[in-house]
């Protein structure tokens, strides 16, 4: 990123933090957490320990970070190297990202920036100008992406409460600041689980690794009365709703399943995973040493804030999480996609000098689709 762009973003982010200290807090059991931050054009600085909000605000003012992170884990010595930290436990965390949902709208709002010639093109495989394959994808997620992510969040929440018995008030949902949502589960019986055990939770949530026997389908002498019913708890119930559709359909579908046999049943289960499993990022949940974006901080991939969602269904990130200031600024924009922030439409721009509010300029610069001239 160019120096002028860095200066603009650092100043704008700093102003945001100064004006919005009430939005950014250290989490509970602060002294047991590891903090970290990144600066523009620079690597990660981590293994930091903080005492309270004051120390966090001081860090923000002194360092003008591009991104701020905090561990989901609790350690005896969070500021020591990883091996010496003495891991105690970790909150259960989930990441749902619209880019992992393979939505059809994605190609409409994704462009590629060539790492060799810096030009922007629509092709996904090759730069249309220099044929290089070293491309960076830049996506400006649309309303559909956010709505689809919300559906995945709702699926996850249902599994967490109904199957895992987690109290609703122990779960917090945040907009990630870019393309999806981060979900935290606090004080659950899963706090002390290691990475391998968490990967079992992941498979359960994503509906991966299911075998026909679990759904009553046996290799030898299958018996139709063992197949799931609508009122069954957990996956058997969800299987019924998805596969049978309605109660009147059940008998017909069960006959079909029995006729098609065991190996087809297995194939059906694998295909179902995509439909009924909640599409979380497995790596995030399995990682018990991660430093995860701090709620209230800005995501430097977009300039939007990682924000707590009070009402998930009504939540509009492009309205509520767009909190940077609206001072006018002149930029050179090369953004072929139209987008909407704070109810205002921007773009498309074809390599043109324009004057826009700082929040919009930051959004495009963060996406590498504009620069300060």
């Amino acid at each position: 990123m160019q120096e002028k762009d860095v200066k603009f973003l650092e100043d704008t982010f700093k102003k945001y933090y100064f004006d919005n200290f009430d939005l950014i807090h250290v989490p509970e059991r602060t002294s047991e957490r590891e903090f970290g931050f990144q600066k523009f054009n620079s690597g990660m600085i981590r293994h930091i320990s903080l005492k309270d909000d004051k120390e966090l605000h001081l860090l923000l003012m002194q360092n003008s970070p591009s991104d701020v992170y905090c561990s989901n884990a609790y350690y005896s010595f969070p500021n020591l190297p990883m091996k010496e930290k003495d891991w105690k436990e970790a909150d259960l965390i989930f990441d749902i990202d619209s880019k992992d949902l393979h939505l059809s709208c994605r190609s409409d709002h994704t462009v590629t920036k060539c790492n060799d010639c810096n030009k922007i093109s629509k092709s996904n495989d090759q730069c249309t100008y220099c044929q290089s394959t070293k491309l960076d994808n830049k996506s400006l997620p649309c309303k559909n992406c956010i709505e689809a992510s919300k559906i995945e969040v709702s699926k996850l929440l249902k599994i967490l409460t109904d199957d895992f018995g987690i109290e609703e008030n122990s779960i917090n949902v945040y907009f990630s600041g870019n393309e999806g949502f981060h979900i935290y589960v606090y004080n659950s019986p899963f706090q002390e689980l290691g990475s391998r055990e968490r990967s079992e939770l992941v498979d359960y949530i994503m509906f991966k690794g299911a075998i026909p026997e679990t759904f009553g389908m046996k290799k030898l002498k299958p018996n139709r009365s063992l197949l799931p019913n609508f009122e069954d708890p957990g996956w058997r119930g969800r299987f019924s709703k998805e596969v049978y559709g309605s109660k009147s359909n059940k008998s017909k579908i069960v006959t079909e399943l029995m006729t098609n046999g065991y190996s087809n049943f297995q194939k059906n289960l694998e295909q179902l995973s995509n439909k009924i499993g909640a599409k979380i990022d497995p790596n995030v949940t399995m990682d018990i040493h991660r430093i995860f974006r701090l709620p209230g901080s800005i995501n430097s991939k977009s300039g939007l804030t990682k924000l707590f969602c009070k009402d998930l269904q009504k939540f509009d990130p492009y309205q509520e999480a767009c909190i940077l200031n609206d001072n006018s600024i002149e930029i050179k924009a090369n953004c072929p996609i139209e987008f909407k922030l704070k109810n205002k439409k921007f773009g498309p721009y074809d390599n043109e000098i324009i004057t826009v509010p700082s929040y919009s300029a930051a959004y495009m610069i963060c996406k590498n689709l504009a620069t300060i001239p």
Binding site: D163, K208, G209
Partner: protein, 341 residues
């Protein structure tokens, strides 16, 4: 502390304090080597070990966990304690492991029966207490099932490789996993085995006792049978081949895929300098960063930890597994192509 009745000691002899038991009965180990009546127990002990080495469960003289005569009960306990003495004198870990597993499976049968006992509540309570005391699993009875908290279930089931033990293939409801008495007990088989083997490994080795030489010799020659040899085909497993193909095409391989590839090749003793060029087609390739990261994984920089190649189970979760029949139920890509002879 669990208090055991006479027949319970015979069912769960590993819970007894061996030395104390013999003392209470007024015997010394030396007597077992010389007294013709007591020698019968040594023969039984040898048989108990031999059967376990064969992968089978020792056939008990107890009927439904109970004995018709007091001496049968005692002999049952003696043969277990003497089997430990023989194993210690033999000093062969493979035999100890096999014995511990077989004994765990024997105890498993009794535990399962006790858990499912409807007529005698105290037997059920004892089984629940044994499982809680030894393995910290809190079991509750709900209708026909035994229910245990999910986190508790996972810490035990995680070492099972059969798919039916995956959480997704379990009845899960409101924070609990529902199990039958058979499954509840099966869940702790390995740990019961570990518990028994650690008890044996930690026991003091006595000096050779006159009359024990012959069975000990027999066991030593038997244990030589268990040394395994493996041959390697040198072929890469499909997950690794896939990762290399992706990189060769210049497509993006996720971080987890790069981690798998690098740790696999490092474990195969490939030098960092040979691995780094594999990544040169990646869209974000940077030679300096790649070398740094590879050295970090190899443990030659940073914390010094050498990172292990992820298990097949983990790779499945990360969508990096492309299993073929030749994988033959291996647990880690590094085992691919190695056949036990």
């Amino acid at each position: 502390m669990i208090t055991l009745g006479k027949d319970e000691i015979a069912k769960y002899p590993f819970l007894a304090d061996a030395g104390q038991y013999l003392k209470d009965k007024g015997f010394t180990l030396q007597q077992f080597g010389t007294d013709p009546d007591l020698r019968l127990s040594v023969d039984k002990a040898l048989n108990r070990v031999l059967v376990s080495a064969d992968g089978k469960i020792y056939k008990s003289d107890l009927i439904d966990g109970e004995a018709s005569k007091e001496y049968i009960l005692e002999r049952e306990v003696f043969s277990f304690l003497l089997a430990i003495v023989l194993l210690k004198l033999t000093g062969m870990t493979t035999l100890i492991k096999r014995f511990a597993l077989a004994e765990a499976r024997r105890a498993e049968k009794f535990l399962e029966k006790d858990l499912g006992n409807i007529s005698d509540e105290s037997k059920k309570e004892l089984a629940i207490k044994i499982i809680d005391d030894l393995f910290s699993i809190q079991i509750k009875k709900q209708d026909d099932f035994f229910i245990i908290p999910i986190a508790n279930y996972l810490t035990h089931s995680i070492n099972f490789h059969e798919r039916e033990w995956k959480l997704i293939n379990r009845h899960v409801e409101n924070g609990f996993v529902f199990l039958t008495s058979h499954e509840t007990v099966r869940l702790i088989r390995k740990e019961l085995g570990n518990y028994i083997s650690s008890k044996i490994l930690n026991a003091k080795t006595p000096s050779m006792i006159s009359g024990f030489e012959e069975p000990v010799e027999k066991l030593i020659s038997l244990s030589k049978k268990f040394v395994t040899h493996t041959v390697s085909t040198g072929e890469y497993p499909p997950c690794i081949k896939h990762a290399i193909e992706v990189l060769e095409k210049g497509e993006n391989l996720p971080h987890s895929g790069r981690f798998m590839l690098a740790t696999f090749l490092l474990a195969k003793n490939q030098p960092v300098e040979q691995i780094a060029p594999l990544f040169k087609n990646a869209p974000d390739y940077n030679e300096r960063v790649t070398l740094y990261q590879l050295n970090h994984l190899a443990g030659s920089s940073g914390s010094g930890t050498q990172y292990a190649c992820p298990s097949c189970e983990k790779l499945k979760t990360q969508n990096l597994c492309f299993a073929i029949p030749e994988c033959d139920n291996i647990f880690n890509p590094l085992q691919f192509g190695k056949k036990r002879k």
